[in-house]
Symmetry: C2
Subunit: 222 residues, 2 copies
């Protein structure tokens, strides 16, 4: 329940807690809440198991702290969107931001995915209240863009889900993607290529003019 960080934590405590959180994020993201064991988290953090509980209290408290940390990172996306905004610029930035976030916090993204797969027992309220309002408000603006003739008349909810799923895929399904394309990991060139592909297909597919702001970006395209 109480998940605010104490304000007067020592730097040492802070360092160790981050070490535990990062280790836990890795284990939880691979095996889900039930499948993760405190022992394997302790091994990953190179700490005795009792130490994990000393700092985090319980498995559940640790898990909830992780979920909150991840959700905090996802704010600040699509914050400053208005009916007057240019759809091309906004959607482009949305796609790019999501791609970057997924690459920056791959374990956090997978943790989130595992939580949803399990039926979102801990994120139930967050999804049904905060995220729902987030989507509803953005959807309303996108719908105005459609009526203004700035883009096709598509259901904005499906558009948001499309961008989420298409970008998240490359972090959450990285095990599949890398094996299918025969690489150990996606490099920067791949990621740039994917981002550009998604911008091209989604913007064009929604009838949005490619971003008018001149950014050097002319590549292979019949």
């Amino acid at each position: 329940m109480s998940l605010e960080a104490a304000p007067n934590e020592s730097a040492h405590r802070e360092r160790i807690e981050q070490r535990i959180l990062n280790a836990a994020e890795q284990v939880f993201s691979q095996h889900g809440y039930r499948g993760a064991s405190l022992q394997s988290i302790a091994d990953q953090a190179v700490l005795p198991k009792a130490n994990i509980l000393y700092y985090m209290g319980s498995k559940q408290a640790l898990y909830i702290r992780l979920l909150n940390r991840m959700m905090r990172r996802w704010n600040a996306v699509l914050e400053d969107i208005t009916p007057a905004s240019d759809p091309g610029r906004v959607l482009s930035e949305f796609i790019r931001t999501k791609m970057v976030l997924g690459q920056r916090y791959p374990e956090g993204s997978k943790l989130f995915a595992a939580e949803i797969l399990a039926g979102a027992p801990f994120l139930n309220e967050y999804l049904a209240v905060e995220l729902r309002e987030w989507v509803a408000s953005r959807a309303a603006i996108i719908r105005q863009w459609s009526t203004q003739g700035k883009m096709d008349n598509v259901d904005p909810r499906w558009l948001i889900f499309l961008i989420w799923s298409a970008t998240q895929h490359y972090t959450e399904y990285s095990a599949q993607v890398t094996r299918v394309i025969g690489k150990d990991a996606l490099d920067d060139k791949d990621l740039a290529s994917i981002t550009q592909f998604l911008e091209h297909v989604i913007l064009k597919g929604c009838g949005v003019a490619s971003q008018p702001v001149s950014e050097l970006q002319k590549t292979a395209d019949s």
Copy 2:
């Protein structure tokens, strides 16, 4: 290792095995391989735990049988595609088929997702060999469509991943989708709307003419 079904199984044994497989699919899909317990599978199947092991041998053997059953269902997708095929028809059918498969086998899809999230320890070889070849052969054909001018010059691998992720999202993230749109489940109308949205955006986004075959399908679109 040996995972072929015995040919001379009694109808009774067959029925019980299916009951166990369905129960296990549900539990594994929610909690992953490690997070699933034989006891909870037994409870789900309303059978004593020892019975599960009597029929399936071990937790791992049961899990592998489930993976194989799911992979078998996924064959027959995009089998008859050639350079002469019409991209619009093929991509449309691909999207529709994937949407239907996800709705028909939601637990199987989630099971697959959990396996990938865990790093695909059991599907490693399948992904790196069979699925890789499947993608490579389809990608080659799509690339020919591009050079023939039938569609934009996009990377076919990203296109395939896009269709996978966009369609799978509605089964694997159903917990998130339903809470965000405020429904208990997606109904047929939602699914038709989503399918049509995806066809519209992806085909148009790839520069493919919407399927020429006249199927009554004229809906809201500025």
